[in-house]
């Protein structure tokens, strides 16, 4: 590749487009299923198939703990894992800003390769578009994943049952906190790195521990709080949360204190919320603690019949109070 930057010609569909694809993407994504044609030809999954898509526009694209490439694999792999599906195939579509440094693109592709390998998923097809300077902020990636749903386990946001234990697989809000500190110029210095991680192996370990699972959800946009409200609504149950049991890294707490933010609403990219029969909860947590991305797993609450659609916090003084509903854009506040 002679070019040090991505040019409009790389997006025009001719020789230079092929060059870019060959030298950056194919070089990293090579596997038996990857196609040079416009569509990949694949053996479909046996049984039921899970399909998920997500666009990634994170800014900045590089952050402590990962980059947009790693994120774009984790996000979709985790969405499949949350359906109890083993990720098999992945497509990725890039939109790149004219003038984007080739070196950074290379770094993104490297991260994607590594993460896809870890998750055991094949990148099978891609697409590259170049947008004029100023028409896109750096690089956006959309990934779509196809997985094979493992038999014997059925999970879904509508399957939470009163009495279920609520487990979170690690300390929350690190990804959101990391991005906030990187993006905005708040002058805060805190040792926080994104929790971004591919979680299929974690889910698999949990499924091997017990089939008595009801809900698995990754707490991405909107964080754990948003996910809990969603599940409460879908399953028409109430949720009781023990505020003190929710694991939060001290630094994240400190940042939230300064900016007047609630960690429960900060995005995670490597944390699951699991709801399962109370009797299995301990075993699940034990399994999780042995997995690489869930050493801090904890039971943080339970599902109840009352207060359907709501999330109730047990406070530090033993009172109960509604968790406020997630409210749009995260904005630091002074009052």
């Amino acid at each position: 590749m002679e070019n040090k930057t991505v040019t409009m010609a790389h997006g025009a569909g001719g020789k230079q487009t092929s060059e870019l694809i060959d030298e950056v993407f194919k070089a990293h994504f090579a596997n038996d299923d990857l196609t040079a044609d416009d569509a990949a030809v694949l053996v479909p999954p046996a049984g039921r198939m899970a399909v998920s898509t997500d666009g990634f526009i994170v800014s900045p694209a590089f952050f402590p703990g990962g980059n947009i490439g790693k994120l774009s694999i984790c996000g979709t792999v985790n969405d499949l894992a949350c359906m109890g599906a083993k990720p098999l195939y992945l497509t990725c579509a890039f939109v790149i800003e004219e003038g984007y440094p080739m070196e950074k693109l290379e770094e993104i592709a490297t991260a994607m390769e590594k993460t896809a390998k870890e998750a055991g998923v094949h990148i099978v097809s891609g697409d590259t578009k170049v947008a004029g300077k100023g028409q896109v902020d750096g690089v956006f990636i959309t990934t779509t994943g196809m997985g094979q749903i493992e038999e014997g386990v059925t999970v879904g946001g509508e399957l939470a049952k009163p009495g279920d234990a609520i487990i979170v697989t690690g300390d929350i809000g690190r990804h959101g906190c990391t991005i906030l500190l990187e993006r905005e110029d708040f002058g805060i210095d805190a040792d926080v790195t994104s929790d971004c991680a591919p979680l299929w192996n974690t889910v698999k370990a949990v499924m091997d521990t017990t089939h008595d699972l009801h809900v698995i959800r990754d707490a991405t946009r909107g964080g754990v709080g948003t996910v809990l409200y969603e599940i409460a609504g879908q399953s028409n149950v109430g949720i009781r949360l023990n505020a003190e049991a929710v694991p939060v890294q001290p630094e994240v707490k400190g940042v939230c204190g300064m900016l007047g933010l609630e960690p429960l609403y900060l995005a995670c990219e490597g944390r699951l919320v699991i709801m399962a029969s109370k009797k299995e909860a301990e075993a699940i947590v034990e399994t999780l603690k042995k997995c690489p991305y869930s050493a801090n797993a904890a039971i943080i609450g339970e599902v109840m019949e009352e207060e359907a659609g709501r999330v109730i916090m047990e406070t530090e003084i033993g009172t109960q109070a509604l968790l406020p509903q997630p409210g749009g854009e995260l904005l630091p506040r002074i009052c």
Binding site: G187, I188, E251, G254, M258
Partner: protein, 70 residues
């Protein structure tokens, strides 16, 4: 009004202080408080130390209770 954060002063330099709250550090203005020293605790609001505090903690409420309510 006025979200406040209690934090420990870790550095002082010419009208500014670096404070630490659970490991989150930031430079803030120390211009409203005389003779701040590293190790002091302060109440921070909007990037300014607005009061020196005796302690990070709120245990003094017990004395208050004793004084007024017993």
């Amino acid at each position: 009004m006025c979200v406040g954060l209690s934090a420990k002063v870790v550095k002082i330099n010419n009208g500014t202080a670096v404070i630490d709250a659970d490991g989150a550090k930031r430079e803030i203005s120390a211009q409203l408080l005389e003779d701040l020293e590293p190790g002091d605790y302060v109440m921070v609001h909007a990037g300014v130390a607005i009061a020196k505090i005796t302690d990070e903690d709120d245990n003094e409420t017990e004395e208050l209770m004793e004084e007024f309510l017993s």
